[in-house]
């Protein structure tokens, strides 16, 4: 068989969706398979899978910057924390098959911290769409998380009323133990994320509003940059 063809089961794992979803997408023409053999088993081209994944980043970004909120497809969207937990456990069980168990535990822990942060800080205050976009590709070793929440600036303003820019807010979130949920003693989550990223072969892109942070082993300092395209809430891309 063509080495560039991948079974439906493996494709489902790589894209983080179910086999049934892939069958539905095939029937609707959204993501076509190649049928092989007497039983017409479904296979997918590696190039199509890679294209789909790259396209997905564009879809998430479009969702995060859109002025009009809308609910994304259920396959990649966690409307509640329970759904996020279930998908995270599924992700962890897939990841551990491909990576060292300790490394997999660290990746899952930072994904868990970032995803749960969205729920912790927006509970009862979501501006339009409740929930977290959580999609990943095990073949490209890439995880995307995004929300249309208040963003870090609005959250920290509750504790630091004079805070006036996304850049300063993002810097504080990754360097100081201050929480937007004072007087609760919180604020360790993103510091933990930073520690794990800079000590391991992991890269992190994190954006809130128009402020962007890139972290990895060679960029350990929290240097925040501006970007032209402002997003609602927060967006993180983790690569390993």
């Amino acid at each position: 068989m063509d080495k560039g063809l991948i079974s439906i089961g493996k494709t489902a794992k790589l894209l983080g969706v179910s086999v049934d979803t892939l069958r539905r997408w095939d029937t609707s023409g959204k993501f076509n398979s190649i049928r092989i053999g007497l039983r017409g088993n479904r296979y997918y081209r590696k190039t199509d899978i890679d294209l789909y994944i790259n396209d997905h980043l564009a879809i998430v970004r479009k969702w995060a910057v859109s002025n009009l909120g809308y609910e994304p497809e259920a396959e990649h969207f966690c409307k509640t924390r329970d759904v996020f937990q279930a998908r995270l456990e599924h992700f962890q069980s897939d990841l551990i098959k491909n990576e060292d168990s300790n490394f997999a535990s660290l990746i899952s822990a930072i994904v868990g911290e970032i995803g749960n942060n969205s729920f912790d800080h927006n509970l009862g205050n979501w501006p339009d769409i409740l929930g977290v976009y959580f999609t990943y590709s095990l073949s490209q070793k890439k995880i995307i998380l995004a929300d249309r929440g208040l963003g870090i600036l609005s959250t920290l303003k509750r504790t630091l009323p004079d805070l006036n820019s996304h850049k300063k807010a993002l810097k504080i979130a990754f360097t100081e133990i201050i929480s937007g949920r004072a007087p609760e003693n919180r604020g360790n989550g993103l510091k933990f994320v930073r520690n794990v990223v800079i000590q391991n072969p992991i890269t992190l892109f994190f954006q809130t509003g128009n402020a962007v942070l890139n972290l990895d082993k060679n960029n350990t300092d929290v240097v925040i940059e501006d970007t032209d395209e402002s997003i609602r809430g927060c967006m993180a891309i983790i690569q390993y």
Partner: protein, 104 residues
């Protein structure tokens, strides 16, 4: 302290063992950590003054500082040096305990 006393202490110190994997293997969110502590509080109230607490991380696949801060920090603050952590080899366990200053 002579060897005899050390051996005597080892055999005669009572530990309440908390197997964290009984709360799950992906211990991630704050609400889950808070709920775990609330559910476990009646058991913690039974700890005698001469008893110590052993928190066993065997089987924990993923731990975050959020979950740990809701469950372990209050236990550590209440029982201080009577708490010991065992089987902490998992990297997410080590990093979470470090950032909460529960281990160094």
């Amino acid at each position: 302290m002579n060897l005899y006393v050390v051996v005597w202490l080892l055999y005669n110190t009572n530990y309440m063992i908390i197997n964290l994997n009984k709360f799950g293997t992906t211990l991630v969110s704050r609400p889950a950590g808070k709920e775990a502590l609330l559910a476990f509080n009646p058991t913690l109230r039974e700890v005698k003054s001469n008893e110590k607490i052993e928190v066993d991380f065997t089987g924990v696949g993923v731990l975050t500082p959020s979950w740990a801060d809701e469950f372990l920090t209050p236990i550590f603050n209440s029982f201080k040096d009577r708490v010991r952590f065992v089987n902490t080899q998992n990297s997410s366990v080590i990093e979470s305990l470090k950032i909460l200053n529960l281990i160094y």
